[in-house]
């Protein structure tokens, strides 16, 4: 078991003036036994960060500690970590047993101890009957398990997962996600899991780190990240479909004003809110009301309706701003081309500073709408 801490960790490729910064001064603390997911778009530096923990990339600046011990200069094998790779990286010429045992054999463990550990891991992962096979005789899901088995037998302080599910088909991915959770509940090993898939991040994480362009945008539980995104980037990245971001407040005010006679003003969001804000609304927080717009309701022109089974997505516009509304399928559906109204509780609105992109906290207005 181990805690993991990042102190002003930075990474540059190249030297001097031509150096390309990838990660700049990153701080984070991960407690013993925690399951933390690093999520971000491709190229945000999340895999680089993971590989720096693993020892596969040099650490340009700052310190990474495992259990208080600085690991910057250590070889990967000395860091007490185990890694599961995106394409599993199983040794193709070795059987499953040999694959899992290899690290232990190098470490010089006694063969009965190796057999005990591999057998135990194989039972946990339900791959006991595959131990004599070669990786090419296994399905994608089975290879995935072997790769996890190879990590488990090392009994490391930290598990590192580098997008391990992206090569699986959708059904298997969902299933493996659950198994990774189950495994973590059983072993309670500190886990760092990198993915670009926000659904994966939301479902797996105890805490998630949202990264963008080499910096941390937000650290928090999936709930807090979803409910209170710290920046425009997080708001747009987490959630599917993403949060509606309304950038042109003046146009929005004009549209609501034209329809209701009382334009929506930034002040309606509460005190202390400046006019240069971006307003965000989650698709499920906008409720379609079948009544003409009046004060407090937003006029909504329905354009396209997507039926997803249990719910439907309704694409349309408020003034010039495109908005997606998520609605349960049991509710009456509007027709394309119809003019309806949206009821959005001001407490459900997120506001962001248009210049810095950071979240602006505001007191919810006292007036009930």
């Amino acid at each position: 078991m181990g805690s993991l801490s990042f102190e002003r960790v930075s990474k540059r490729y190249g030297q001097g003036a031509r150096a390309v910064p990838v990660i700049a001064g990153l701080d984070a603390q991960i407690a013993d036994g925690e399951f933390v997911v690093i999520v971000g778009p491709s190229g945000c530096g999340k895999s680089t960060l993971l590989r720096m923990v693993a020892g596969l990339e040099d650490i340009t600046g700052g310190e990474i500690r495992i259990d208080g011990r600085v690991i910057n200069g250590l070889e990967p094998a000395q860091r007490d970590i185990a890694m599961v790779f995106q394409n599993y990286a199983l040794y193709p010429h070795m059987t499953v047993f040999q694959n899992m045992a290899y690290g232990l054999r190098i470490a010089g463990l006694a063969s009965d101890e190796i057999e005990r550990r591999v057998g135990h891991a194989a039972r946990i992962l339900e791959i006991s009957e595959l131990l004599a096979r070669k990786p090419r005789e296994l399905s994608g899901g089975q290879r995935q398990r072997v790769a996890m088995g190879r990590a488990i037998v090392r009994q490391p302080k930290v598990f590192l997962f580098d997008e391990p599910l992206s090569n699986l088909d959708a059904r298997l991915r969902a299933q493996t996600r659950l198994e990774i959770r189950r495994l973590h509940a059983e072993l309670r090993t500190t886990t760092l899991f990198v993915t670009h898939d926000q659904v994966e991040a939301m479902t797996l994480a105890e805490r998630m780190i949202v990264m963008n362009a080499g910096a941390i945008e937000q650290i928090g539980t999936p709930e807090s990240v979803y409910e209170r995104p710290a920046s425009l980037f997080v708001a747009g990245f987490i959630g599917s479909p993403p949060m509606n971001l309304l950038r042109d407040w003046a146009a929005l005010g004009a549209a609501t004003g034209a329809a209701t006679g009382a334009p929506l003003r930034p002040a309606a969001l509460g005190s202390g809110v400046q006019s240069n804000v971006v307003v965000g609304v989650r698709p499920e927080d906008a409720v379609i009301v079948d009544s003409p717009p009046f004060n407090g309701l937003w006029p909504f022109a329905v354009e396209v309706i997507e039926m997803l089974g249990a719910e439907r997505l309704i694409h349309g516009r408020v003034g010039t701003e495109a908005i997606i509304v998520r609605q349960e399928a049991s509710r009456p559906a509007p027709r394309a081309g119809q003019q309806v109204s949206l009821h959005i509780s001001p407490s459900k609105l997120h506001t962001f500073d248009a210049r810095t992109g950071r979240r602006v906290e505001h007191a919810a207005p006292s007036k009930k709408t």
Partner: protein, 285 residues
């Protein structure tokens, strides 16, 4: 072939048969000649294409040496075959070991002048042994290695072709495999032994076949550097049998020796055919 026209089939088969005849007929003549007596070969012009009955005698004399009816002495072929076998094996294994290691260094390590090293090796591809044979001879002679197995094999060991082949193969080994091994704690040489070697087994087999034949068939280099009978490879031995001058050449013994010289490389090809093809085609990763 997609089309199925009888005329075309006949034509392709004719071409193939013709090819086989062109390649096979001289071999057939060699085999036949090695079963006749020297007189039979020389007196019947053209020589008979039916097997004679002195096969056992001819091969016994070729292999173990002896005195012929016409008084000529024949040196035994088996010590020469032993020299050939030893040098071919040493050359093949040496080449494979050296090229594996140099390709390993070039592909998996970052060191100064790495690219320069690779290009230096690569450029030697353009210099066959004939080009550098003068300087090589001078070096080997001044090291006092003439007429030794070391002198016979070491100068032929370095191989740009094999290094290049292994380099190309190593480049296809995914980075994650190297990284997984690093995380498992394997040292570079452990990675080499436990992963690279097993993965390159088929390439090694294919190269072994090629290099064994290369070593076995060496002519120019042994011709220059062996003056001692005990270090003569079999290929040179055949040349020795062609006496010329007043004594008539014992063609039956020459041909029998030629057959003997052909057997080991043929055996290597036949025995390792499966591996050889797999290595060249390359399949499993």
């Amino acid at each position: 072939m997609v089309e199925n026209r009888p005329a075309l089939t006949v034509l392709t088969h004719l071409t193939l048969v013709l090819g086989v005849v062109i390649v096979g007929f001289p071999l057939y003549v060699v085999v036949i000649a090695s079963t006749q007596t020297a007189q039979e070969i020389v007196q019947n012009a053209p020589m008979s294409l039916w097997p004679g009955d002195s096969i056992a005698e001819n091969y016994r004399v070729a292999l173990w040496g002896g005195v012929l009816n016409n008084g000529g002495r024949v040196a035994p072929a088996w010590p020469m075959m032993a020299v050939s076998l030893a040098s071919a094996l040493i050359i093949a294994f040496g080449k494979i070991a050296i090229s594996l290691l140099s390709a390993f260094a070039i592909v998996f390590f970052r060191f100064r002048f790495r690219t320069a090293c690779f290009w230096l090796i690569f450029v030697t591809l353009m210099l066959p042994i004939e080009v550098r044979i003068g300087p090589t001879y001078s070096v080997v002679a001044s090291l006092g290695l003439l007429n030794t197995m070391t002198g016979l094999t070491v100068p032929l060991m370095a191989s740009a072709t094999a290094t290049f082949l292994f380099r190309q193969f190593f480049l296809t080994v995914p980075d994650e495999l190297v990284e997984a091994a690093r995380i498992d704690g394997a040292s570079p040489m452990q990675f080499f032994r436990d992963h690279l070697l097993p993965l390159s087994a088929t390439s090694v087999a294919a190269l072994f076949v090629i290099q064994f034949i290369y070593g076995w068939n060496q002519y120019l280099w042994p011709l220059l550097m062996t003056t001692n009978e005990t270090m003569l490879p079999i290929v040179l031995g055949i040349k020795r049998l062609l006496t010329g001058g007043d004594a008539g050449t014992d063609w039956n013994i020459v041909m029998a020796t030629a057959i003997l010289a052909m057997v080991p490389p043929a055996a290597v090809v036949l025995l390792m055919q499966k591996w050889f093809v797999r290595g060249l085609v390359d399949s499993e990763k």
